[in-house]
């Protein structure tokens, strides 16, 4: 029995088999036992009846990405599982439990040389009144991991409460039968005891922490148009915004959603919407309006594989170009990217604060991976960023809505304030907001809008910078966790690698990146985009080291820590 810091488990079944439920219960029970963990789900396009897999990583410390391969793979059945065989990589050390009636092992699994054990999961479930195979699978995992049975029972009772006592009893019986079936099987791994933590624990997805960050930052109006994988943000906000005196309103399309939040924000209410690539594309024109009329709004883009409809349920980092460069005209705006499930809270809250302070639209680039993954985490510390707009004061004389000031931010009048009446306009305007086609007014307002973003003191939050090696890994967004883990492994081999991950992508921070790169001789850029959008962005705005290599590929497969580590090691030799 080898003691390890983390163990990865995949539970696979056709849609309706309940693999995802089993995975969720496993993560929650392990969290109650004190472990940290992460769950992602992989599903096909079908709403019901397709294939599904719950990918769970349990660890004695917080984890922000999936491991390189799965130590334990449980197949309730393998129908269509070939379609995502590449996502459930196993190795010779892995244990694969398969139901002999569940079809053939996926080819990739069969070829891996793992230890394969047959357990009649469905037959065991059938022997129990109302027994469900997924609970037997949960029992197998819980038994092999040594999870206390009472914790699994507690979680079952909590999560299946609405299904009634009979269902709970049947599930407990399934769990126990699974644990019994695990007796005699050998995972040969043992999770080391979790590090104790005094912080309260959360079980959350990035989309949920994003919603909380928005409300904490001050958002009180959200417009919603459903889209995968962003809908959970809106569904979390729908019941929660009214509790704090806010409103969520469903729009007829994304064109309406973005204009609704501009209207709400014009009325003085901090406002946001959440969408994915196709929706962001529709919102771009109005984001230009928000830039020109200086109306703060926040748009969360939970990125999925594109272009067009792409792969709605899979992650990619390929909306960087549209977020940074998509607006027509010269339209300076904010672009931010959270780096983990925890950081979705911080970055969204900070994004609301920045948008309000700078009277500019902010695009927050989350992605499907951190958006839909669920993690057991320590409750993050509160942060002080709350949106505060510079408000105009009642005045007698003519009000200059777009007065040129030292910092570029002009006091904003809100309807209801006497003497502040002005017309917000997408037309080029003068300081009063009156339309003009004069060269000097055009230039003055362009200068003002650029200056207010460039002069702002963003502080150290602009990027994650760790370590001081001569080789720097520069990455962004949800790949930060993978890169950090790869760097930690390389450190174990005696290598000192620097990690740089900008959280603030626009406006760019050339002086700060220059300082972060001090002493760096080689740069490895890591990103999940087919064309290397992040690398091109870095090249356009920053001076990098002489030697630059790029590890980039499209979704849907996540870039695992071992790939990054390999790129680091290869370069070393």
């Amino acid at each position: 029995m080898r003691e390890v810091e983390d163990i990865s488990v995949a539970i696979v079944g056709s849609g309706g088999a309940g693999a995802l439920t089993a995975g969720n219960l496993l993560l929650e029970a392990a969290s109650l036992a004190g472990w940290r963990g992460l769950l992602t789900r992989t599903v096909g396009p079908q709403i019901r009846g397709g294939e599904a897999a719950a990918l769970v990583r349990l660890a004695s410390r917080p984890v922000e990405c999936l491991a390189d391969r799965f130590d334990l793979l449980i197949g309730i059945d393998w129908l269509n599982a070939n379609r995502f065989g590449a996502e459930i990589e196993v190795g010779p050390q892995s244990l694969v439990i398969t139901d002999p009636s569940g079809g053939d092992l996926p080819a990739l699994v069969a070829r891996a040389g793992a230890r394969v054990v047959e357990v009649p999961i469905k037959d065991i479930a059938k022997a129990i009144a109302d027994g469900r195979p997924n609970m037997v699978a949960l029992g197998l995992a819980a038994g092999l991991l040594g999870l206390p049975e009472d914790l699994s029972c507690t979680v079952i009772a909590k999560r299946l409460k609405e299904k009634g006592e009979t269902a709970i009893e049947a599930s407990r019986a399934g769990l126990k039968a699974g644990i019994a079936a695990a007796t005699g099987l050998d995972l040969s791994l043992q999770l080391i005891a979790p590090k104790p933590s005094a912080a309260p624990r959360w079980l959350v997805s990035g989309n949920e922490t994003t919603g909380l960050g928005a409300i904490r930052g001050g958002v009180r109006f959200a417009a919603a148009y459903p889209i995968t994988p962003a809908s959970e943000i809106l569904e979390w906000l729908a019941p929660n915004l009214p509790k704090v005196g806010g409103v969520l309103f469903q729009a007829e399309d994304e064109l309406a959603a973005i204009n609704m939040i501009i209207g709400a924000s014009f009325g003085g209410t901090p406002a946001m919407t959440a969408t994915s690539g196709p929706g962001l594309a529709l919102m771009i024109e109005a984001l230009g309006l928000a830039t020109a009329a200086e109306i703060p709004v926040v748009v969360i883009d939970v990125m999925r594989a594109g272009p067009s409809t792409g792969i709605p349920t899979k992650s990619e980092q390929a909306d960087l170009n549209i977020a940074v460069y998509g607006l027509h005209g010269d339209a300076p705006h904010l672009v931010l990217a959270p780096q983990s499930i925890v950081d979705c809270l911080f970055t969204t809250q900070w994004g609301v604060y920045l948008a309000e302070a700078l009277q500019a639209p902010a695009i927050v680039l989350s992605d499907q991976f951190i958006g839909q993954a669920v993690a057991a985490i320590d409750r993050p510390a509160d942060i002080a960023f709350i949106g505060r707009r510079t408000a105009a004061l009642p005045q007698a004389g003519a009000y200059k809505r777009y007065a040129v000031s030292a910092g570029g931010v002009s006091p904003m009048a809100i309807p209801g304030m006497r003497g502040g009446q002005y017309t917000a306009d997408g037309l080029t305007h003068n300081e009063f907001g009156i339309p003009t086609s004069s060269e000097s007014d055009h230039r003055t307002q362009l200068d003002k809008r650029r200056m207010k973003l460039e002069q702002f003191a963003y502080g150290d939050h602009w990027a994650t910078i760790e370590g001081d090696g001569e080789l720097a890994v520069i990455t962004w967004g949800s790949l930060t966790g993978s890169a950090r883990e790869a760097i930690a492994k390389a450190h174990g081999s005696g290598l000192n690698i620097r990690l740089i991950a900008p959280r603030l992508l626009c406006p760019t921070q050339p002086d700060r990146l220059k300082a972060a790169l001090d002493g760096v001789k080689r740069v490895l850029v890591v990103e999940q985009s087919h064309s290397g959008q992040f690398h091109r962005y870095l090249r356009a705005h920053y001076d990098l080291a002489k030697d630059v290599r790029v590890l980039n590929r499209p979704g849907p497969l996540p870039i695992r820590p071992s790939e990054i580590e390999q790129a680091i090691m290869q370069w070393r030799s």
Binding site: E28, S31, L32, P200, R201, W202, L203, E208, L212, I215, R216, R220, F221, A223, N240, P242, K243, V244, G245, G246, V247, F249, E252, D253, L255, A256, A257, N259, M260, I261, I262, G263, A264, S265, F266, G267, G268, T269, A286, G288, L289, A293, R379, A413, P415, G416, M417, R418, G419, G420, Q421, Y422, T423, A424, D425, G426, L427, G433, I434, P435
Partner: protein, 278 residues
């Protein structure tokens, strides 16, 4: 219209800004602006508690010509912007101005949903049956044989019927006005703003530059022969069978306006985390 404080003894001039309109001499929209300011004065609206929202086109220039708060947004999205404003600020009086291109073509989908939602606001579409600002292309209300550079020989398409569509989609007040009759237009606007829910006013407003034939409209207009009904079936029949120059209030519904569900007690933000806790 909101139950806000109103001011008595207001004059139309109190609502007119100093900005000189860009409209062509003889444009019907001058009289619509006059009717706006007269209606606002008659209602005693507080300028800073009134917002005029618009999209793009000749008619959409109207917000800055008033002394109210205004928003001249992007093409076709005025109703969406106004919806976000009104839902988050129900205390404001919101009037939306649009044209036949802005409102019925690029903004057509928002028109349907604004009618359906029945949020308390007034939607005024200045219909001149042509895209004026881009110099004379056919709009959704243009006649099929109207010859333009973009549609040589005419589009051959039947015009859109905004009033019956508004009615079918759920608008709570439907009226037709003629810019050349500012007294009647003012009176209709007053009623429309007072009426709860979504009020739709189609103002026939001639484009003398690209549709000189519309100068003849003044001879074709006539008052609606019967009073407004609250029966949508009757209203639909009248609107579908009239000659299109029937001026007056055609439908006054009694649907309840949309009210956002906002919790009465604002809870501590820490409460929101409770669902996250293990």
């Amino acid at each position: 219209m909101s139950s806000v404080e109103t001011r008595s003894a207001c004059k139309p001039g109190d609502y007119k800004s100093d900005i000189k309109p860009i409209w062509c001499p003889g444009c019907g929209d001058y009289h619509v602006l006059l009717s706006f300011t007269r209606a606002f004065a008659e209602l005693g609206l507080v300028p800073e508690e009134t917002v005029v929202v618009s999209g793009i086109g000749c008619s959409s220039r109207i917000p800055a010509y008033t002394k109210c708060y205004g928003f001249h947004g992007v093409h076709g999205r005025s109703l969406a912007l106004a919806t976000g404003l009104k839902v988050s600020r129900p205390d404001l009086t919101v009037v939306v101005a649009s044209g036949d291109g802005d409102g019925y073509s690029i903004g057509g989908n928002h028109f349907l949903h604004a009618c359906r939602r029945n949020i308390d606001m007034t939607y005024v579409v200045m219909d001149n049956r042509v895209y004026g600002m881009t110099k004379g292309q056919p709009s959704p209300t243009t006649e099929p044989d109207f010859d333009t550079a973009l549609s040589p020989g005419g589009t051959g398409l039947s015009p859109f019927h905004p009033l019956v569509i508004a009615l079918a989609a759920g608008a709570n007040f439907v009226a037709r006005a003629f810019s050349g009759d500012p007294n009647q237009t003012t009176s209709i606007l007053v009623d429309a703003i007072r009426h709860p829910g979504f009020s739709f006013v189609e103002v026939l407003s001639p484009c003398v530059t690209f549709r000189p034939d519309e100068r003849e409209w003044k001879t074709q207009m006539h008052p609606a022969p019967v009073a407004a009904t609250s029966d949508p079936g009757k209203a639909a029949r009248r609107i579908m069978t009239d000659d299109g120059f029937n001026i007056g209030i055609l439908y006054r519904g009694n649907r309840r306006p949309y009210q956002a569900k906002v919790g009465s007690n604002c809870i501590d933000l820490a409460e929101l985390e409770k669902d996250f806790a293990l």
